[in-house]
């Protein structure tokens, strides 16, 4: 069973100061499913979401994504700076020793320069985290959770509850930003405007228009994001998240603030994403009609804890869920 799970969260806990926002949640998302996360306000849904997306480090617990441990509590992170400074410090000591031993000045200067280069290389490694640097971390026993961009690279796309588009960029540019990590041209290509760069940009633009078309924003690609109507902004955010070709799409209240017709259309879109693109989708929703309509499975959180899990029907009949939602109009 575990092999078929795209994402596997084990006993994930997050504390903010004294407040326990998420408490020991076990959670799995099977491949090609639509899973919903529901619960009253402040139940810890968005916090949990942000942990999965790599924005918060969990206080305890771990998350595997596509079979790889991506997120867990940081381990021995305080050692990392020593890793950056260590080699350079050693080299600097060697240079100082050479100076004391009356080595020629050029040799001392060269050694000092090597120390500087070592420092820069280590610092750049820490920033870009290439393979050799990650191996070094593993060898030193240091574990740091993946950052949001690492999660995107690994195949996770997300939207935000309060839309966070790049407001002063056009719809097309927003989607192109979403495709950023799949484009390979570096600054060198860009400066020289190499054929590779131009071809890639052209291809990316075609793909971005396709995605806009897919979510229903065909003639809006030149419009600034902030000038789009509200529903279109939500759809644009979905298109932007699709830009990185995700395997798992996290949608944080995709129908919030939408009228019934727009909500219907969003539901149709979500269904289509699964059937046509083969995406797996994790949904946070308030609107019970949406949740019950499209989810394969529903998980209910309350006060940071999981209180129920199952098919929409099972959850609907669960007395604890009814209690948690008592008074809420949607239940």
């Amino acid at each position: 069973m575990t092999d078929a799970n795209l994402l596997d969260a084990r006993r994930v806990t997050k504390r903010f100061g004294g407040l326990v926002a998420v408490n020991g949640i076990d959670f799995t998302i099977p491949e090609r499913s639509i899973v919903s996360l529901i619960g009253p306000n402040g139940a810890g849904k968005t916090t949990f979401f942000n942990i999965i997306a790599g924005i918060y480090d969990p206080t305890a617990g771990a998350i595997r994504f596509r079979g790889r441990q991506m997120i867990a509590r940081t381990h021995r992170a305080f050692l990392e700076p020593f890793l950056w400074v260590g080699p350079a410090a050693v080299m600097a000591l060697v240079a100082a020793g050479a100076g004391l031993a009356r080595a020629p000045v050029t040799a001392v200067v060269a050694l000092g320069f090597v120390a500087l280069l070592l420092l820069i290389v280590m610092l750049l490694g820490a920033v870009a985290r290439p393979l050799w640097y990650r191996r070094l971390l593993v060898r030193a026993g240091i574990f740091r959770s993946s950052r949001p961009n690492d999660m995107v690279e690994a195949g996770l796309g997300r939207t935000f509850q309060n839309i966070r588009l790049f407001h002063n960029m056009t719809a097309l540019e927003n989607v192109l930003v979403g495709m950023h990590c799949r484009l390979k041209a570096n600054w060198w290509d860009a400066m020289l405007s190499t054929p590779k760069d131009r071809a890639e940009e052209a291809r990316a633009e075609i793909r971005a228009r396709e995605l806009l078309h897919l979510v229903g924003l065909r003639d809006r690609d030149g419009e600034l994001a902030k000038n789009l109507p509200y529903g279109d902004q939500r759809r644009l955010e979905v298109a932007r998240a699709l830009g990185s070709d995700p395997a798992l799409l996290l949608l944080d209240e995709p129908t919030a603030g939408m009228n019934p017709r727009e909500t219907q259309e969003m539901m149709a879109l979500i269904n289509k994403l699964r059937t046509e693109l083969g995406l797996t989708i994790l949904l946070i929703e308030h609107d019970m009609k949406v949740v019950m309509g499209i989810s394969d499975r529903v998980t209910v959180l309350d006060h940071g804890e999981k209180i129920a899990e199952g098919t929409p029907d099972e959850v609907r009949r669960n007395p604890r869920v009814v209690e948690a939602y008592l008074g809420a109009p949607a239940a």
Binding site: G17, G18, G54, I55
Partner: protein, 352 residues
Amino acid sequence: MTAIATPASPASRRRPAWFLPVVSLGGVAAYYLLLRFVFGIGEGTALQQVANALSTGAIYALVALGYTMVYGIIELINFAHGDVFMVGAFVSLFFLVQVLGNTGLTAPITNLPVLLLLIGAALLVTMPLIGLLNVGIERFFYRPLRNAPRLAPLITAIGVSFILQNIALVIAGSGDESSPQIFPIRDWRLSIGEITIPYLSLFVFALAMVLMVLLQTFVGRTRLGRAMRSTAQDREAAALMGVDLNQTIALTFLLGGALAGAAGVVWGLTYGYVRSDLGFNAGLKAFTSAVLGGIGNITGAVLGGFIIGFVEVFATTLGQTRWSQFVVFVVLALVLVFRPAGILGQQVGERA
């Protein structure tokens, strides 16, 4: 340990109240022993340097408080704060010169009540004035930009810093302006056997500590202080709970400015000169202190100020005054690499 941004940090709950004072005293003693035995400095000089470090550190701590409170509450590096301190030093200088000129008193005043009265008067004049200057800066330059992109208030702060510095330059010229040293440094000394330490250092240290305790009490115990703390935690939530944001932020600037004014008075007494680019260097060191202690944290700023004071005096003691700025920068860089949240700050969870 009231931290403006993290009133209930787990770290402060774990440590008992005596922890910080004891560790600080231990640090001072270790510093003395280091000078005395590792660097082979004479007993008298070493003690003298410790006293120097305490008074220098007190000045940095007072200025650092202004940085840290403002950063805690609106997340702005108030680059103009160092220059506000410089203006404070000038105001105090001007006041003392006027008083001495009109009363016929001469610079070292050996009559203790008169001396204390005069210093008190200088503080009473300078602190409210500089506090109001700081409030004015906030009102006219930072408040309109509160919702602007972050770059805008930062650039404005740099602009204000340059305006203050250059106004001082135009008025006072580029050289040192000598400030009357009314406290008798030469004659009033605490002697322990053969060694003497000027009482001034102890006075400065004590004055700074009194002001800091007052601030601590204000922030920790009063309604307005509570408003400040809650605003630092979450501005929107505080506003929803009925905290008057504008008033609270203005109050923060008032307190920060007043402390910078006090630091200005103290500076004049200790060093006997003021110059227009004073604020730039002192500001950089004070900000480093705030970062070192954990920005947004009041206790941290004080601690950081003293540490920077000790580091700087250490460089001077070894005869490397010209490298002191460099050493302070290296400290800043090391803090940012190894412990960006500062000594007392909480490690921030969010990575972006």
